[in-house]
Amino acid sequence: MRLRIKQPSVLPGFGLTLGFTLLYLSAIVLIPLAALFLKSAGMGWSSFWATVTSPRVVAAYKLSFGAAAIGALINAVFGFVVAWSLVRYSFPGKRIVDAMVDLPFALPTAVSGIALTTLYSRNGWIGQYLEPLGIQAAFSPLGVTIALTFIGLPFVVRTLQPALEDLDPDMEEAAASLGASRWRTLRRVILPTVLPSLLTGFALAFARALGEYGSVVFISGNMPMRTEIAPLLIVAKLEQYDYAGATAIAVVMLLISFAILLAINVIQWVASRHRIGG
């Protein structure tokens, strides 16, 4: 039976390792996630639909999506500049800067949330300079965007770095010798080559930001219809003992996450086929 689904190989251990993988995957990930789906299925389609499309929930989706998308976009732009600087140039302290990029990943989200709120609120180091300009950073959608930009940064930089390193210098030289300006080379030669990595990094940062909770609740202000993120609504539903409602929102978010991951896989698959084909 096994031989039919698997191509033959001289290497041992397929059944064992795959069996263990599936068992462990089921125990830790699949069965608990199935519980989520079953719980929300228990509430019936119409009340499920009513829950996930109620105005407050829709507003939260909009904020979560909007802020996550803007954050990922900022990261795509600045992350590209950072990755480019790290790969192409040498400057003092580069190694330290390179290591620092991972900080948002390694720093616990609650710590970053408290630290960011301290900085960006009205009397914080940065907030006090924004206040006179009429910009309210903490407790506004801007604050949510700042937190989501913070946590997404490493993903863009880290997926771009290997791609930029693999760039073939000959292509750039050829473009230059054909009279293309540096800017034109960047647009026509470099960007298209690293685009799959850039998209992957963007999608990763986006997916991560969509579900982020710990760092956002401190800085968002949690105003209904304005600065409530979707994960906070899940928590709020739970506080009202509304398990079915909480799982309904969770299911929607989970499906979106899964779709994003699939999209990343498709991007990479297309990109790798492209590379082999062309």
Binding site: P12, G13, L16, T17, F20, S54, P55, R56, A59, T117, S121, R122, N123, G124, A138, F139, V217, G221, N222, M223, P224, M225, R226, L232, V235, A236, K237, L238, E239, Q240, Y241, D242, G245
Partner: protein, 371 residues
């Protein structure tokens, strides 16, 4: 070949078994043995699941009870504390957090444990004196030093340019008291006397007053720039971040903020009318029966009503149920204020919760209209 394959199997199975075994040991060890076994009688451990503002109170009360219990029975008692938003804490108990006693912000939350979890009898509130509330509190205003916006009463909160800090009633028990206190103020202002609520003859007037109260509360929330998820979060926003002109807070939180965060920075303002908050306490039957801790758990809650318990309660700015036991100096700190009861004005917590705070309730409507 076959040999080494077997070795791989054995190795992987061994590693997995060791790791799973470790987890299992923790599972079994975690529930069985107490960490604090002493030479004499076996120590007993109680878990008190409470809400946010009682941290300091129980930090002092727990050792006092442990001394009392040791003197009385010779047994050591270790009391573990868990604090958080009242709703979250109640849900954790429903989901299996093994609380021997709960000391929460609202009767509604303990009702939920009884109703949804079936972990204690529905009549729990009649088991201890004073509606199972050994201490009460109320809602007051905390303003910046010398009250620059001259806030004296609830009306002043909706004056142009005033920013009000209160937590989100969806996630915070304290915020629900704030909200209902504001509502009660508006009703009283319209009706003159809250007794009118129960006069069938004045039904039309009452209805109009309720509509005005709703407008007032909606207007009030337009002055709220941040809705933190819990009472402590709001205090931090107001005191640490310098946001807002007035914080609606538990009386004990307001006193605590003044003492801990700077007497030179804040003043307390007492409004003309506020609400009688009765944070209730209860023993969780199912848990104490299983753990065999009923006796000590019940004694723990009763001790809150004892002279010593009441003294500690008053010291931490809760109004004691039996003021005669408290230090008069502590009592002097509590200002006189008319405190209305939830049962009289809102028909009990369950009704208030359904009307105002559940999904689609008045609070949701206020926010959906205003945006």
């Amino acid at each position: 070949m076959a040999d080494s394959k077997r070795v791989v199997v054995v190795a992987v199975v061994l590693v997995t078994a060791i790791v799973l075994g470790l987890i299992l040991i923790r599972i079994l060890g975690g529930s069985g043995a107490d960490p604090d076994e002493t030479a004499g009688k076996r120590a007993v451990t109680l878990l008190n699941v409470s809400y946010d503002p009682t941290r300091e109170l129980y930090q002092e009360f727990n050792p006092a009870f442990a001394r009392y219990w040791k003197a009385k029975t010779g047994q050591d008692v270790v009391i573990e504390q868990s604090h958080g938003g009242a709703g979250k804490q109640a849900r954790a108990v429903i989901d299996g957090l093994k609380a021997d006693v709960v000391t929460l912000a609202l009767a509604y939350d303990i009702d939920a444990i009884a109703r949804q979890g079936g972990l204690l009898a529905a009549d729990w509130q009649s088991r201890l004196p004073e509606n199972s509330a050994p201490y009460t509190s109320t809602i007051v205003f905390l303003v910046r030093k010398d009250n620059p916006k001259s806030i004296r009463d609830w009306d002043d909160l909706v004056k142009p340019g005033v920013e009000v800090i209160t937590p989100n009633p969806k996630t915070s028990g304290g915020a629900r008291w704030n909200y209902l206190a504001a509502w009660a103020f508006a009703l009283k202002k319209e009706l003159g006397d809250l007794k009118a609520l129960h006069h069938p003859a004045q039904a039309a007037q009452v209805e109009q007053a309720q509509a005005r109260a709703r407008e007032f509360v909606a207007e009030l929330h337009k002055h709220v720039p941040v809705l933190d998820s819990g009472a402590r979060g709001s205090t931090n926003t107001f005191a640490q971040r310098g946001i807002g002109d007035v914080l609606l807070a538990w009386e004990n939180e307001a006193f605590l903020a003044v003492n801990e965060l700077g007497p030179d920075k804040f003043d307390i303002v007492v409004p003309s009318i506020s609400i009688l908050a009765e944070p209730p306490v209860a023993v969780i039957d199912k848990v104490v029966e299983k753990k065999g801790t009923r006796e000590v758990a019940e004694e723990y809650l009763k001790y809150l009503y004892s002279p010593e318990g009441q003294r500690i309660v008053a010291r931490h700015y809760y109004r004691p149920a039996y003021p005669q036991h408290a230090d008069p100096a502590d009592l002097e700190r509590f200002p006189d204020v008319e405190r209305v009861r939830i049962d009289e004005v809102f028909g009990g917590w369950r009704k208030a919760q359904e009307t105002h705070f559940n999904d689609g309730g008045v609070f949701d409507q206020i926010y959906q209209v205003s945006k």
